[in-house]
């Protein structure tokens, strides 16, 4: 449960909100009855300064195609780090290079302090990996599969049953993997990644192609391992998911890293402004004249009784005051911060 004190943009009264981490709560100001939606901040683990994953000047060339071009970034201990990019941007190539699955042309990769070139066995002891399309062996049961990976990772086989229980596959543990649905195979992949409580998780679009139910289970597991202290590098096409989960993101496009920061900082660096969504009684699709030419407003649009205003945060209370001075009745007020999707599209130049 998270408690947050917020200030009403109209009358400046302080209102206390309670709810779950990351939850959107509908609130009404007790003084002026202004209604609005507020998203509670997500509670995340402390991120320390220790570097868990370090990629330095990584390049990979396939024949004449430069798949990854001089990419460098670091992921710190305890972080959930989002790795974003359009299709064919070089995300999977980078992740495969990180895991030592492909040979790189240049670059150094370090995981948990071990160089992948030369100390890969030691590095891999700390890695839990879940690919987009995980596959196992059709003739082995779920339990035999987890036993196999326990033995490969040098972990006692007794952890297999609790792990299968943890991902909800306990009742199917003696079924052959060949009979599993895609979601069940992906959950088996989660159980496999959790073996030995690794300190680094590398997840390549782990929820891609899964229905909402399976995707939520996997997102919950990502949060869970992060809360236990693990570092997560996570690539996804689902920007909403990345926004919900990640502390920082890196954006790759056409093989080059074009940004690396928190979502908020990226938006701020790109000078992206929040949008106010104001419901006004009897607006009728007309932009109020009182706001025309007002400084700090970038865009104004009216649809029905809702007015959309893209503006600096500092002018929000002035806008409310002007509307009220003009005798307009504000029924509802919502602030929409620039989404990761907006930031991402701006970064990659409107789509790739």
């Amino acid at each position: 449960m998270v408690t947050q004190l917020v200030k009403c943009p109209r009358c400046q009264t302080h209102v206390t909100i309670q709810g779950n981490s990351g939850e959107s709560v509908l609130i009404t100001c007790p003084s002026c009855s202004l209604k609005g939606k507020f998203t509670l901040p997500s509670t995340k683990k402390m991120v320390t300064g220790t570097t868990m994953i370090e990629i330095s000047h990584l390049s990979k060339i396939y024949k004449e195609v430069i798949a990854v071009n001089n990419v460098s970034f670091t992921v710190r201990s305890g972080e959930i780090f989002g790795f974003l990019g359009p299709n064919g941007a070089g995300k999977t190539t980078t992740i495969k290079a990180l895991l030592g699955l492909i040979h790189v042309n240049t670059g150094e990769i370090t995981i948990h302090g071990y160089r992948m070139n030369g100390e890969s066995r030691s590095a891999r002891k700390h890695i839990g990996y879940l690919p987009e399309r995980v596959a196992f062996y059709d003739n082995l049961t779920a339990l035999q599969t987890i036993h196999f990976f326990c033995e490969l990772k040098g972990v006692d086989r007794s952890v297999a049953q609790p792990l299968l229980k943890e991902v909800g596959l306990e009742s199917a543990m003696n079924r052959k993997v060949g009979t599993f649905s895609k979601g069940m195979v992906q959950l088996l992949g989660v159980a496999q990644a959790l073996i030995g409580n690794p300190s680094v998780y590398i997840l390549d679009e782990p929820t891609s192609g899964l229905d909402a139910r399976w995707a939520k289970i996997i997102r919950d597991k990502i949060r869970m391992v992060n809360e236990r202290g693990a570092t997560v590098l996570f690539s996804s096409h689902n920007l909403f998911e990345v926004e919900q989960l990640c502390d920082r993101v890196a954006v790759i496009n056409k093989g080059k890293l074009i940004a690396e920061d928190t979502v908020a900082n990226l938006s701020s660096h790109l000078k992206m402004k929040p949008q106010l969504e104001i419901t006004i009684q009897g607006l009728g699709g007309k932009v109020p004249l009182v706001l025309s030419g007002m400084q700090g407003i970038d865009a104004l649009e009216a649809k029905g009784d809702t007015l959309f205003v893209t503006c600096e945060s500092s002018v929000r209370s002035k806008i409310i005051a002007k509307l009220e001075e003009a005798g307009l009745t504000i029924l509802n007020l919502k602030t929409i911060e620039p989404s990761l999707e907006d930031t991402f599209i701006k970064l990659i130049g409107g789509g790739a």
Partner: protein
């Protein structure tokens, strides 16, 4: 210093054995091996006109030899042709290779595990058949029969090493199938090539039909693992001449059992070494 751990090799071998021993094609071919021993023994028994319905081991083995040198490579190819290319394509290999295990250990584990499936299939198929013959006819030539089983296993593991090499080279499962077929029919191809070379060096068809064949022709089995196995088995039963096209030809002295076994070992180790070099360089 070479960093090789035994545990991952054993783990992968065990997994390969468990995953493949339940393959219905392997089960079917194992049953077929047993039935073939009985059928060929029964045919040999009928020819000898003895008291027993089953024939002796030597006659059974000679009857079996040509078909077993097709079936065993078939099992080996089925097991090995997609063990790397197929798993790389499906994604199963990705997860394995992110565990603390080297590519050499994965390859060795696969060879041992899949090789164990061949050992099990041959021991069950031919072993049970041999026991039945021993119980019915007697244990004469049992040592040679054991040599036949051993050489059949060697044939299987050698073809397995070749098919793993093909699998390490091919990017996709479908192209590995083509490679597997080349291995299967290589014996026929190379035999025909040798006959063509003989004809091209001044020999006539009449020479071939009457057994007038140059000594160097008999190096042909060194280029074909099934032929190599056939010749080594015949040597194991004390036979030094080969019957073909209705006549019998004495094998040249240089085709000794040690040379044949040495050639076998080269066929076993060179492809697996090559497979390792290909697999090591491969992007997964």
């Amino acid at each position: 210093m070479v960093d090789v751990h035994v545990r991952p090799i054993v783990t992968i071998a065990k997994k390969e054995f468990l995953d493949n021993i339940r393959n219905r094609w392997i089960i079917l071919l194992t049953v077929l091996l047993f039935l073939l021993v009985i059928v060929f023994s029964y045919l040999a028994g009928g020819q000898s006109g003895g008291d027993s319905a089953l024939g002796d081991m030597q006659s059974t083995v000679f009857g079996l030899l040509s078909i077993s040198t097709i079936l065993i490579p078939l099992i080996a190819i089925l097991l090995g042709f997609s063990t790397i290319s197929g798993e790389a394509e499906s994604g199963a290999l990705h997860v394995v290779l992110t565990c603390p295990v080297t590519r050499f250990e994965v390859l060795l584990g696969k060879l041992l595990g899949l090789g164990s499936v061949i050992v099990a299939a041959v021991l069950i198929g031919f072993g049970l058949g041999g026991i039945l013959i021993t119980a019915t006819v007697g244990s004469e030539s049992w040592l040679s029969y054991l040599a036949f089983i051993g050489l059949t296993i060697l044939l299987g593991v050698t073809v397995l090493s070749l098919s793993i090499c093909i699998s390490a080279y091919c990017k996709r499962r479908i192209t590995s199938i083509g490679g597997g077929l080349v291995i299967l029919f290589w014996g026929m191809i190379i035999g025909t090539v040798f006959f063509a070379v003989v004809l091209g060096t001044g020999y006539t068809l009449d020479d071939l039909m009457t057994g007038n064949i140059p000594d160097w022709f008999w190096i042909e089995p060194l280029f074909s693992v099934p032929d190599l196995t056939q010749m080594t088995v015949m040597k194991a039963f004390g036979m030094n001449d080969i019957s073909m096209m209705g006549f019998s030809v004495n094998l040249p002295d240089y085709m000794s059992t040690p040379l044949l076994l040495f050639a076998h070992l080269l066929w076993l180790f060179i492809p697996i070494l090559l497979a390792y070099l290909l697999f090591k360089r491969r992007d997964i």
